[in-house]
């Protein structure tokens, strides 16, 4: 059929953003805008903004004077919600650090750090049975905001061509979120038990932890997708670039494993036998994955090698986070994933071996809607197939490797089994 140029151009006008993506972006931007109220030109507004939100004016004046001296801001760093210095931590220290961060990469890392800090605060309070519903909600909200900002900056890193940092930061964030899922789950089940024993006398039960856990699990899906997507972008670039990235990542993974080994040895006195054993097993896993990666490297499969090395690094990192939390919170953590044996690499590029417990049925509800950005990233049953092009070979090999109790991938992926 013949058309005029006019008509042809008109057809092009109908192209638009996917509704879902558009909405998602809108939320991310809104969060970003709120979290990054830049200082207005003119000195007044910066302080006024902080003052109105977080601290009363006289306290603010004193706090700022002291903060500039460094002593107070350092002391504030370990403050928990409810403590006097906490507003300085979140209202002064964190914004200042963000404002001082020049690059996309440092901003991404800061947001990731702040997200994790919120979770650590919640966990510390929960382990002392001091987590109220109000504080829990506030922490959950800030966590969500920081995690969204992290996601946004990872996207921006990708868009700016800095694929290495995008892959690195998203992977590190992922391991952290997974570790926190495990920790929160443990805290929740402990407070359930506690509640049963006490007849729920003090009302600081599993509900508060449960709320944060839900949000973390929800975010976990997006964080996973961010990482897979960043890896895909990187491994899709030219072969020499991917090779360089893979070689660099190999060193990083090896260093991380060595670091955790040392940590384990130095702290074995503080750890339960079970924790030591579990961490040891995880490190063994990490070493095996590293070896798999080296084989890939030899075979010139640089994309797969890179993904393996990232996975090895994550495995080691998760082990460390769980060890540290076990010490700090006096928890007996289960490093292994719960739930049935599933083949590895369900549809994702790296065949993540470990993840937090997936056994709980009650995860179905909120998370099954969390298909987030790219539905094709989600796991599809146990077939080991995947929507992403890079995954198949790594899936195979990690399947061979993780035969035993093969529970793979984070709990949230299980949710898609039914789909």
């Amino acid at each position: 059929m013949s058309k005029t140029l006019n008509e042809l151009f008109n057809e092009l006008k109908s192209r638009r953003l996917d509704q879902g993506r558009r909405l998602e972006m809108r939320n991310e931007l809104a969060n970003y805008a709120r979290a990054n109220q830049q200082r207005e030109s003119g000195r007044q507004s910066f302080w006024a903004g902080i003052g109105s939100k977080f601290i009363t004016v006289p306290a603010l004046a004193i706090a700022l004077i002291l903060a500039l001296s460094g002593a107070l801001s350092a002391a504030a760093q370990t403050a928990l919600p409810g403590q006097i210095l906490y507003p300085i931590k979140t209202g002064v220290n964190e914004p200042i650090r963000l404002a001082l961060a020049g690059s996309l990469q440092s901003k991404a890392q800061l947001h990731a750090e702040f997200a994790q800090t919120r979770l650590e605060e919640a966990e510390t309070l929960a382990s002392q049975s001091k987590l109220s519903a109000q504080v829990s909600a506030a922490l959950a909200q800030n966590f969500q905001s920081q995690a969204s900002s992290t996601s946004v900056f990872i996207d921006r890193l990708k868009a700016s061509g800095d694929l290495n940092d995008a892959a690195e930061i998203s992977s590190s964030f992922e391991s952290s979120i997974r570790a926190h899922e495990v920790i929160l789950q443990q805290l929740q089940s402990e407070s359930e038990k506690h509640g049963q024993n006490q007849g729920e006398a003090n009302g600081r039960g599993d509900g508060e932890v449960g709320d944060i856990l839900n949000i973390v699990q929800h975010k976990s899906q997006q964080v996973f997708e961010d990482r897979v997507s960043a890896e895909s972008a990187l491994t899709a670039t030219s072969s020499p670039l991917v090779q360089t990235a893979a070689e660099g990542k190999q060193k990083a993974a090896q260093n991380k494993i060595d670091e955790i080994q040392r940590f384990l040895e130095q702290n074995s006195a503080h750890l339960s036998a079970s924790a030591v054993a579990q961490a040891g097993a995880r490190l063994a896993d990490a070493r095996q994955i590293l070896a798999d990666g080296q084989a890939k490297l030899q075979a010139q499969e640089f994309g797969d090698a890179f993904e393996k090395f990232q996975e090895a690094q994550r495995t080691a990192q998760e082990a460390k986070l769980l060890l540290r939390a076990g010490i700090n919170l006096n928890l007996d953590l289960n490093f292994q994933k719960q739930g049935g044996a599933q083949p590895d690499g369900q549809g994702d590029a790296s065949g993540n071996p470990e993840g937090p417990g997936s056994g709980q049925a009650d995860q179905q509800g909120p998370d099954s809607n969390a298909s987030g950005k790219s539905g094709d990233q989600s796991a599809s049953g146990g077939s080991g197939e995947s929507g992403t092009s890079t995954s198949s070979t790594s899936t195979q090999s990690s399947q061979e490797h993780h035969g035993q109790g093969g529970s793979d991938d984070s709990g949230h992926l299980d949710l898609n089994l039914g789909l």
């Binding site: 140029l5 151009f9 057809e11 092009l12 192209r15 558009r22 830049q38 946004v152």
Partner: protein
């Protein structure tokens, strides 16, 4: 209205057209989405810290266009001075283009991609984004005459490519 409300309103109004603008430059949905996000983020960095934006639409286009340029890492050739002596004129698409093209939309997209970057840029801005030559000139930092001439040449080149296709 607060700053961030204004900003979100600008998003609601312009996100689609910025996406379209980016898409017809990079022809990659994912990349285009990333560019849209980056465009709005940078705009917020400017606006959120108190700077003034008179015309959000033009500002967004400018940021997006710059990002696209960075993305492509190219240098745009400059028009020779003599050509700029031409009278400015605005070719109407219908006049130029009662091209009875035996072509479908898919193929048209391909032909668009064959166009060189400079021409594609102005044609999509003019006939898809529906910006006036004066606006395009402001966004690209060129003279309005230059833009009109480029549009004219773009259409001519497009016509050539379409005709070539018909005879293959």
């Amino acid at each position: 209205m607060s700053r961030d409300e204004q900003f979100m309103q600008a998003y609601d109004k312009h996100a689609d057209e910025i996406f379209r603008h980016c898409y017809y430059r990079v022809f990659d949905k994912q990349k285009a989405e990333d560019l849209v996000q980056e465009t709005f983020m940078r705009t917020w960095e400017y606006f959120g810290r108190g700077e003034k934006i008179d015309n959000f639409r033009a500002f967004l286009y400018r940021v997006a266009t710059n990002l696209i340029i960075d993305e492509a890492r190219k240098n745009r050739p400059t028009e020779s001075l003599e050509e700029l002596e031409d009278e400015g004129f605005e070719p109407s698409l219908d006049e130029m283009g009662k091209i009875q093209a035996e072509i479908d939309s898919e193929a048209f997209l391909q032909v668009l991609r064959e166009l060189d970057e400079q021409h594609r840029e102005v044609l999509t801005m003019r006939y898809v984004d529906e910006l006036m030559p004066r606006e395009i000139a402001a966004i690209l930092g060129e003279r309005e005459n230059t833009i009109s001439v480029r549009i004219y040449r773009g259409i001519r080149r497009l016509k050539e490519l379409l005709e070539k296709r018909q005879y293959e």
